[in-house]
Amino acid sequence: MKLHEYPFLVQSEILHNIDYQDLFLLSFVSNKMKNLIKSSQNNRFKNIRSISYNCYGNRRPIVDILLENGQKEDLLAVTKRQLQKFETFRHKPDYFQLNVFGKLIDFTLYKDYIYGYKGHTVATFNPHESASVIESIHNYILNFLGDSVEYYWRTSDHVMNIPKLQNVSACMKMWYILSVTDDLNDFFSAAPDFKSISIKTTRPRELVRPDSKFYHAESIDTFQTHITFPDIFHHFQGKRAFITCMDCEMFHLIDFVNRWKSGEAFQKLELLSVEVYDGIPQEEVLNDIGAKHIVASKTPPTHAVPKM
């Protein structure tokens, strides 16, 4: 069977029935094949909403594709290569090497590899190679699927450093931070700027230093149960802040809003949402920030925040 002998429309229909992870592998067969995929599947690629490098639970990333209709497809997993002595008799992987954007990377095909991974394509790396392997894979995907797609690096931990990749926005959702041991300062200083951060912690002290990149995130959503007035009120540089506290000194909040209104600080801030468990004395706050009244019928502006 010679695929190249089929008319273009038939080739296109066949490729249309191949899922993304197999298309990804097929693109390595030849340059001509890669170009055929790109030209014939152009419209299909327009239905990709985003590509995510999901790095949950201290694992290396699983790359998935989110389509416009909300469906998700796993593209590949990237993981450390197992030492030969740990390869089981049941599964001795066959590796094949691919030239991925100028770097030779060993791949293998698994049926059931990682919990939560529904694919079969796994790219492996040797110790100390992870950054270059991930960078090559990303550059290849960027070239293959195009830069009109949104790319995200999503993490739920601060163990693996986030690589600086072209066109990739970093997002963090961290709901378990150990009180004493976890130090986020080094992590944020090595990370690229964040698109969004969602953090929930019971730690009785601030998460990061005042000059941390943490405060440069475009959107922050925090729930710091044991801090009455989180530092985010002082240092935030981003566009949207969603802050939840157990209790809060109102003069801090009023001061924050007045500085924002006057343009003295928080020039980029577009939306602030504050929720205090002990309640906010509405009259007092509205008077002190100079808000005359609230029009109950008016719909507040909505902001799209990347889904985690």
Binding site: M1, P7, V10, N17, D22, S30, F96
Partner: protein
């Protein structure tokens, strides 16, 4: 099952056997047409079954044959192997007047047969069958490495593509030179 007969290359085909009638017989007598492939075996197919093929349906509409004329002039598809045309006719008969299911598991498993079937179905413009065939071809490479895919679909390497391109250019150059020389000869 379609009815077939061993035809000859002569203009008038022998009387084909009649296809078994479907359980629900149509009220209006159905018209039949005749097709043959490379092997000249003539297949008698109802107009209802042939509606799956946009190409044949168009031919029927344009020609306006009577039953007798249709019998005397089977549609020739010399580019389609007999066994492949038989598969197509069977499929059209099985799916006559029925909504097509989302999957078809009766397609050939052998690579070469499937390859020929795709070409035939594409030529005859049978959209639903083409979709099934393409799905089946696509399934062949599921979970396969690039080298395995290359082998299954016989995809040339970059080096082979380059060599073929060079060869094609060389050939085109020679042909152009030949045409120029012939034109010069004519001018003399």
């Amino acid at each position: 099952m379609s009815s077939t007969e061993q035809g000859t290359s002569s203009a008038a085909p022998a009387e084909p056997t009649t296809a078994p009638e479907s359980a629900a017989a149509p009220e209006v007598p159905e018209s039949f047409y005749y097709v043959h492939g490379k092997d000249k075996v003539v297949h008698k197919v109802s107009a209802g079954a042939l509606q799956h093929s946009a190409l044949i349906h168009g031919m029927i509409s344009n020609l306006g044959y009577t039953e007798e004329q249709a019998k005397a002039n089977p549609f020739p598809f010399e580019n389609i192997d007999g066994d492949i045309l038989q598969m197509v006719v069977d499929w059209c008969n099985q799916h006559k007047g029925k909504p097509t299911p989302p999957e078809d598991t009766n397609l050939p498993k052998q690579k070469e047969k499937l390859f020929d079937l795709v070409l035939a179905v594409n030529y005859l413009e049978i959209k639903e069958l083409l979709t099934y065939c393409c799905k089946q071809v696509a399934m062949m490479v599921k979970g396969k490495s690039p080298e395995e895919i290359r082998e299954i679909w016989m995809i040339p390497t970059d080096a082979e593509d380059e060599a073929a391109e060079k060869e094609a250019k060389k050939r085109a150059g020679k042909e152009a030179a030949g045409e120029t020389a012939a034109a010069a000869g004519d001018a003399k």
